[in-house]
């Protein structure tokens, strides 16, 4: 029941975000979408993913987007409006994606997957959180992707610092 509530919230706010012309309202409805998706993660016993989503997207990305909108507006108009461009291509691509996704999900027949039918609803068992398992997995089975991702982030950080330096002074 809760799942449908949050799913409906996520879909509605997502639709509002796409349909509204006011960029700032789009930003705030993105907040609602992200919060409902985090709630869905919690319902799926993925507490760590849910909180990480809040931390990274709400605390980082969304604030950055809002900052960008606020700093670049209020110059001549009341607020920033977005315009429709690439109407034909946009509809084609999104329809194709929809068809592709529907086909894949249909093909998967996830209701009859053997591991799903054998799965227990008591996922966490004795443990209070998924953090321990995630930590162990990251340091054993997935240590290479983990390190590669950290390297990528480091490169991005150095790049950002380089772009932001005042070249006239140096």
């Amino acid at each position: 029941m809760l799942f449908y509530l949050f799913a409906a919230l996520a879909v509605l706010s997502g639709a509002y975000m796409v349909l509204t012309r006011n960029l700032l309202y789009a930003g705030f409805s993105l907040l609602l979408t992200l919060l409902s998706v985090a709630a869905i993660y919690v319902l799926l016993f993925a507490d760590f993913v849910a909180v990480t989503q809040l931390m990274v997207y709400v605390g980082g990305v969304l604030v950055l987007i809002l900052f960008g909108i606020m700093l670049s507006s209020r110059m001549h108009d009341k607020s920033v409006m977005s315009e429709n461009t690439n109407l034909g291509w946009g509809i084609t691509v999104s329809l194709l994606t929809l068809v592709g996704l529907c086909y894949t999900i249909w093909q998967a027949k996830f209701a009859s997957l053997p591991w799903l039918q054998a799965a227990d609803t008591d996922v966490l068992g004795q443990q209070k959180s998924t953090v321990q398992n995630i930590g162990i997995k990251l340091m054993t089975d997935f240590v290479l992707p983990f390190e590669v991702a950290s390297l990528l982030l480091l490169i991005a950080l150095i790049g950002a610092a380089y772009i932001a330096t005042d070249k006239n002074n140096g």
Binding site: T52, M55, G59, V63, K128
Partner: protein, 367 residues
């Protein structure tokens, strides 16, 4: 649901006391009397202030973005109040005992920032906008040293659960499921061979059992001042430049909610500092031989005495930190914005990174 109501009532009580204390402390530091008229020593002053605010006209300025303007105070208070959900008040009373409480707290606090931006934008006012911008820039930057200081505690405690961290810092450690066979050593150094598991008290507080965390505590305290927009980091609300910052357009009940959120934030950051560094609800008195001071001032866990003692220690330590925050406001002048960023990025963040490394090494000494 019960936890929700209880926490809200407790919070309202603390905030009213705090608002009164703020005026009295300010007055005494400036050699004034402060409020004296209402009640004995003016102690009813802040209650009357609340009543006055509730009676005021609710003004929404004509050019404001009305929806955002009305939504912002609710969002700000909800974000701060949601943080209280994971705070353990006594050994067996915690609104939501989730396993990743510390991480959740860090994430939910960042929702506050979105609310501030909403208030600043919705007011359609230069001062409000500038105040919100400054406030958000400050909070986002100071989250980094604060987060690193908290991370060093998590490294030492090996847990993201506030209740587990609390149990580790007292004589009751072996009562927590999963910690039955853990041992606390003096200063956390096993080589010294002095077992403090049964001594408890101040010797098992995090700042004492891993002294490197004392530095982390100072860093966290400075950063928490900035996160709750307290002086000397109050440029977002600088009266002389910005009138009142992001809440300049708010009046009546909406202003009361913003005011409540701001003071709740102060209480929340102090509570977190106490829980992570200063022994949470544990007593400061250690067991000395037959003098079982720690057990006498802890009560029985699960019983009424344990609850009262736990709440008493937690709140009294929190009030000490809150008093320090009030005192600092009348001691230090406001930092300029470049000094603010210098302090954050060039002083606190490097030290905090070093503390994280040292905390990792310290953890190796502890086992």
């Amino acid at each position: 649901m019960l936890a929700f109501v209880l926490t809200l009532v407790l919070l309202l009580g603390i905030v009213i006391v705090l608002a009164y204390a703020e005026r009295k402390v300010a007055a005494f530091m400036q050699d004034r009397m402060g409020p004296t008229e209402a009640g004995p020593y003016g102690s009813l002053q802040s209650v009357l202030d609340v009543v006055k605010l509730l009676q005021k006209e609710d003004i929404v300025s004509a050019a404001a973005d009305k929806k955002l303007f009305k939504l912002a105070p609710i969002l700000i208070f909800a974000a701060v109040f949601a943080g209280f959900a994971v705070i353990p008040f006594t050994p067996d009373l915690i609104p939501a005992g989730i396993g990743i409480g510390v991480f959740y707290l860090l994430a939910i606090i960042s929702l506050d920032v979105v609310g501030l931006l909403m208030a600043g934008w919705g007011s359609n006012n230069k001062y409000a906008m500038l105040g919100a911008m400054r406030s958000v820039a400050q909070i986002v930057s100071y989250e980094i040293p604060a987060g690193l200081a908290i991370l060093s505690v998590v490294i030492v405690c090996q847990s993201l659960d506030f209740q587990e961290i609390s149990y580790q810092q007292g004589a009751l450690m072996n009562r927590f499921p999963g910690l039955e066979f853990e041992t606390n050593w003096l200063f956390g150094i096993e080589a010294l061979g002095i077992d403090t598991t049964r001594i408890g008290g101040i010797t098992t507080w995090n700042v004492f059992r891993a002294p490197v965390l004392l530095v982390a505590f100072v860093i966290y305290f400075i950063a928490s001042l900035a996160e709750s927009n307290r002086a000397p980091f109050d440029i977002p609300e600088a009266e002389s430049e910005l009138v009142a910052g992001f809440h300049v357009e708010y009046s009546g009940f909406r202003f009361a909610v913003l005011f409540l959120a701001e003071y709740s934030m102060m209480v929340l950051v102090s509570l977190v500092a106490v829980i992570l560094f200063l022994g949470s609800w544990n007593t400061p008195l250690p067991n000395i031989g037959p003098l079982q001071l720690a057990y006498w001032t802890t009560g029985t866990v699960g019983g009424l005495s344990g609850m009262l003692w736990g709440g008493f220690w937690l709140l009294s330590k929190t009030f000490v930190l809150l008093f320090l925050q009030l005192q600092i406001r009348w001691t230090y002048p406001r930092l300029r914005v470049d000094q603010l960023m210098h302090l954050c990025w060039k002083v606190l963040t490097p030290i905090a990174l070093a503390v994280v490394l040292l905390a990792g090494i310290w953890r190796l000494l502890m086992i």
